[in-house]
Homo-oligomer: 220 residues x 2
């Protein structure tokens, strides 16, 4: 697992790679913090012909595993449910890095990569997982909305992926120009990027009600 990361996004010397679970608990805290800061993960699965696919999914971290869901109507999700090898990443783009050379120009990011195979959750575990995902992506919303019907539940696959084989790469801060480039008479540094929420926009029937406090309090 030495090359599952971000070779094209940052030069090696400013990138920290951390693997789990060999490392110390503070590294696990770093991994958890990245997972808890994201909203979307990308999941890879390969079909019988050797063609890989990437599925963007909403997700939540639940202790030492990632939970996400998909449709039973999806061939690729059914393949994940059957235990196909997968790779899941949560990668947060934190900025553009303006070095003094083309080669060191890159991006700042925090990235978690997880390898493994998914487990299908059923019954109470499945119901709990759907709530955990909702509580993570849409905190406070669960109590207000209609719970899944039997038909909806039957159309939904809920998968768990252990964080046992996970690694972290982080690239942050200043460019790492070669010594011979630093005297180049130009501005160099980085431009931060972050996600922000806009104002909540109601649909037609929703406009009759106030924006819930739990929504108004969401920040990125």
């Amino acid at each position: 697992m030495t090359e599952n990361g971000l070779p094209a996004l940052g030069s090696t010397d400013r990138t920290r790679v951390r693997r789990f679970p060999e490392n110390a608990s503070d590294d696990r805290d770093v991994l958890n913090a990245i997972l808890d800061a994201g909203l979307m993960a990308f999941v890879a699965v390969t079909d019988d012909a050797g063609q890989p696919y990437i599925l963007p999914v909403g997700y939540a971290r639940d202790g030492d595993r990632i939970l996400f869901h998909g449709s039973t109507g999806s061939r690729l999700f059914r393949s994940l449910a059957a235990g196909a090898p997968t790779c899941l990443t949560v990668t947060l783009l934190d900025g553009l890095v303006l070095a003094r050379s083309a080669f060191e120009s890159s991006m700042n990011y925090r990235s978690v990569m997880v390898l493994g195979s998914c487990t299908v959750l059923d019954g109470d575990d499945k119901a709990t997982a759907l709530r955990v995902i909702s509580d993570f992506l849409l905190p406070g919303r669960w109590a207000d909305i209609r719970q899944p019907s039997k038909k909806e539940d039957a159309a939904t696959l809920v998968l768990a992926l252990s964080l046992e084989e996970a690694s972290v790469k982080i690239s942050a801060g200043d460019p790492s120009d070669a010594d011979e480039d630093v005297d180049r008479p130009i501005w160099a540094g980085h431009v931060p990027i972050r996600e922000v929420f806009g104002e909540p926009i109601p649909d037609e029937a929703g406009a009759a009600f106030p924006v819930p406090d739990y929504v108004a309090s969401w920040t990125r």
Copy 2:
């Protein structure tokens, strides 16, 4: 290619799937606009053991192909260079969708999926591609920075992936609640998400120079 998309992010009826090149030119414009609005792509490649990996990369669109680069030191990039089947996605998260049921709660997004195999660029094509990538990710920067040395060039793989087999999925706007849910007396709608740039932050030597106009003008 019916399931290469976003089954977990939106319900089917509010998601438009478009495939190329069968469709009309306005659909191609939609695809191009999504690619031109992103900064980071995710690329999947599967190793000999059947384990898929996801590589986050900076990229640029160059007409009817995607350009990106990686390290010759990366086994996975070398596999892409050798023509391994790949999937590339640029997926932009546009918002959270607060429906009146758990089942319809989802996300708004614009997503391009590309299947195919990469071509390695060399010589003048490689040099031009590196500039195209820089001009897309860091517009205006190329003229100010040191160009790649022979050693740096030798350490860099530049790959092109045709957009011939590409598809688009878009989920936008209001939730699509079932009729029987719309009377539920709660706020419903969506919360937009967007990326913003922060103020440019110079490194120690860079602080002696003004922020270039081309950087100051960047917006997301």
